[in-house]
């Protein structure tokens, strides 16, 4: 296992100090100059590089008063060697929607973290939080109180609403079909209780993308994926289309030829789009942003249930509501979420994500329970097996009045 080399020396990690890509080792070293936790982190990591194994114990439950989430407990399994990372808890700080900051705000965060933690962060975690990487249990309350004083709060962890996230949307993107930042903030505020006090069977994530490009990968990693789209026709500026051709884009081959619904045609002068067939994939718009724009009747498609593979296999979210206007106070969306949560909390098993729950009970039954009408938009295709659970049947004697009423 560990040999003398780790005593302050980190020959393996030193090798990752150089190279064109910015180095995490440099970051840890930079913090380590002043911070003993970072110094011991460096040492323990060097040991991991030698041993080819992580040196963290299975997380324990730590947190701040009244909150059930926001902190990931972490303890070294070699605290005798690296006492300064004996505790090395992570704090998830809820980022501002769209990850916009001022230098002031960031400096405030840095100052708090300089005082109470390792000085190392993730900007950002995969869910989107500001991750403060490594502190001791007794620092949690002070950090929390300083954060809240500066207007920051913790993000989610455990079986709760997780920190919602949103693409840059209308703040800088011409394609945002709804205000992703506003919705993200609104949901975050509305569900503060659900976010901080885990009461679900498992985690529940919201992600808001302004258009089908899905720049926060919502379809792959959020239980509720809210993806902007439009209902009417793509807005076309024919002259600008021509400009793209003139500048060397092969429109017929590279734009029309890549249209998944084969609904475009370019004759060298006019781009024709059969909008009834267009699947709103964004490709043509992406290729010619100056010439094409999403339609004007905008809203979002709600998709439900994506998650990583543990344990029934990964899922992508699937369509629940093909189109919904996205305007404050977002009541329709919230009512729907709450109906889903009620059902899932009632019938879901522990550690069963909502997507897995739907698969177990069947989408048809799920819809019935949340009182949403089945729609062909929800499916890629109707069933191809004949194993239909018909729910009613006639019994002898029903014959007379021809009334449908089975035994259930």
């Amino acid at each position: 296992m560990a040999d003398g080399q780790t005593n302050g020396k980190t020959p393996k990690l030193d090798k990752l100090d150089k190279g064109p890509w910015p180095s995490f080792v440099k970051e840890i070293k930079r913090a380590a100059e002043k911070n003993p936790m970072s110094k011991d982190l460096l040492g323990q990591l060097e040991l991991s590089y030698e041993d080819k194994i992580g040196h963290w114990k299975h997380g324990g439950i730590v947190g701040v008063l009244g909150y059930g989430g926001g902190v990931i407990g972490r303890y070294s399994d070699v605290p005798e060697k690296f006492p300064n990372v004996a505790h090395f808890h992570t704090i998830r700080v809820n980022m501002p929607a769209g990850w916009f900051y001022t230098s002031d705000a960031l400096r405030t965060l840095c100052d708090i973290w300089e005082k109470h933690g390792s000085g190392l962060t993730n900007m950002h975690g995969s869910t989107g939080d500001i991750v403060f990487l490594g502190t001791r249990t007794e620092q949690l309350e002070p950090i929390f109180s300083e954060l809240t004083k500066e207007g920051f709060d913790l993000g989610g962890s455990g079986s709760d609403v997780r920190t919602p996230s949103a693409c840059v949307g209308p703040a800088r993107c011409e394609w945002a079909c709804y205000d992703t930042l506003k919705l993200c903030y609104d949901l975050t505020m509305e569900y503060q209780d659900e976010l901080h006090r885990p009461a679900f069977p498992y985690k529940f994530k919201f992600k808001c993308s302004g258009c089908p490009n899905d720049c926060v990968a919502s379809v792959a990693r959020s239980d509720m994926s809210i993806i902007g789209t439009w209902k009417d026709d793509i807005q076309v500026d024919q002259a600008a289309v021509k400009e793209y051709e003139d500048k060397g884009l092969n429109i017929q081959r590279d734009v029309c030829g890549n249209c998944p619904s084969k609904c475009m045609d370019w004759d060298g002068k006019t781009l024709e789009i059969d909008n009834r067939l267009c699947v709103r994939c964004m490709h043509c718009i992406n290729a010619m942003p100056k010439a094409l724009r999403p339609g004007k009747e905008r809203g979002a498609c709600l998709l439900l249930g994506s998650k990583a593979p543990i344990v029934e296999g990964a899922q992508l979210s699937s369509v629940l509501v093909p189109f919904m206007k996205m305007e404050p106070p977002y009541q329709e969306l919230k009512d729907l979420c709450e109906k889903i949560w009620d059902l899932w909390c009632e019938e879901g098993k522990a550690r069963e994500r909502v997507g897995e729950f739907i698969q177990r009970v069947g989408l048809g039954n799920f819809l019935e329970a949340i009182e949403v009408e089945p729609s062909p938009y929800m499916i890629a295709h109707p069933r191809d097996n004949p194993y239909i659970f018909y729910e009613d049947y006639f019994e002898e004697g029903d014959e007379e009045d021809e009334d449908e009423d089975g035994d259930e």
Partner: protein, 358 residues
Amino acid sequence: MSQTERLTDIGPPKYDKYLPPIVKKNYGTWLYHEILKPGVMVHMAESGDKLYTVRCGTPRLLSIYSIRDFCDVADKYCGGHLRFTSRHNVEFLLTDESKIEPLIADVKKLGFPVGGVGNAISSIVHTQGWVHCHSAATDASGVVKNVMDALCDKFESMELPGKLRIALACCLNMCGAVHCSDIAILGIHRRPPKTNHSILNNICEIPTVVAACPTAAIRPARIDGKESVEVDEERCMFCANCFTVCPAMTLNDPLNDGVSIWVGGKVSNARHEPMFSKLAVPYIENNPPYWPEVVETVVKIVDVWAANARKFERMGEWIERIGWPRFFEMTGIEFEKYHIDDFKYAGLSYKRSAHLRF
């Protein structure tokens, strides 16, 4: 601070507190954008305003000192405004075109590359690894650093057929969207859990442990006089779900942990619907600090794709067009039994037609 002052459930700062004035003014009225050069875009507003963005790569794991460096740059050029992206790049937002070059020079001096926009490789979405997580089968930051060292030029240029998104997760929990990435690097365990029988019954509930196993490999058992569990190793598929619910079931193992490589996933709806990543290489051993075999494999895949895909074609779209046999042939990756699915939807992954390319 007194008890009564304790603030809770205040939520994050409202985003508009931090939006630059030009964004506030033109919020929701952007017209179009253009990419000016690698890492630099301009967004045109209906008002005629132009917003310049310079994107630069980060290791995600940032010390407060680097963050303060970024703040200095933002103060110098951007009125103190900056943002991060969903792939943990930093974006500096400018209104004055003439400041772009000096800003880039400063950022580069700090050691951060500018790029990741358009048909480029962006930063690798990744996870904790040995830096923080108890589950990690590999180190996230280390592998990422090496791979990005090798691909940095493709971050700083825009010569690729389409976007290329790489992600890494250090265990099957897959924190991040590695299951839908053009290239995914996934830490894997390959040894069934080693059970610490002496403590198991004290710290875990045996029925919970048994129920955690999707393949029913775990059975309650009395071992050396203690209530514990035993694992039918033949049935274990190394998902580590037992470890998640019970610390006494260790999957981490220096001799057998390593990474697998997956290709062809995507998230956007552009052209093709979102797709899962598919297995390319079942196992490469952990070889810190350089993980040369991983880097070599990833670079090879990127190069073959870059040289052969058509304009706009993401990795998965390209493979779909050329077919998997050709993919294995062109990359030189060996096809093995492990590539053939045997999980619950396995049958649907068999080739059920005579569409064949020779």
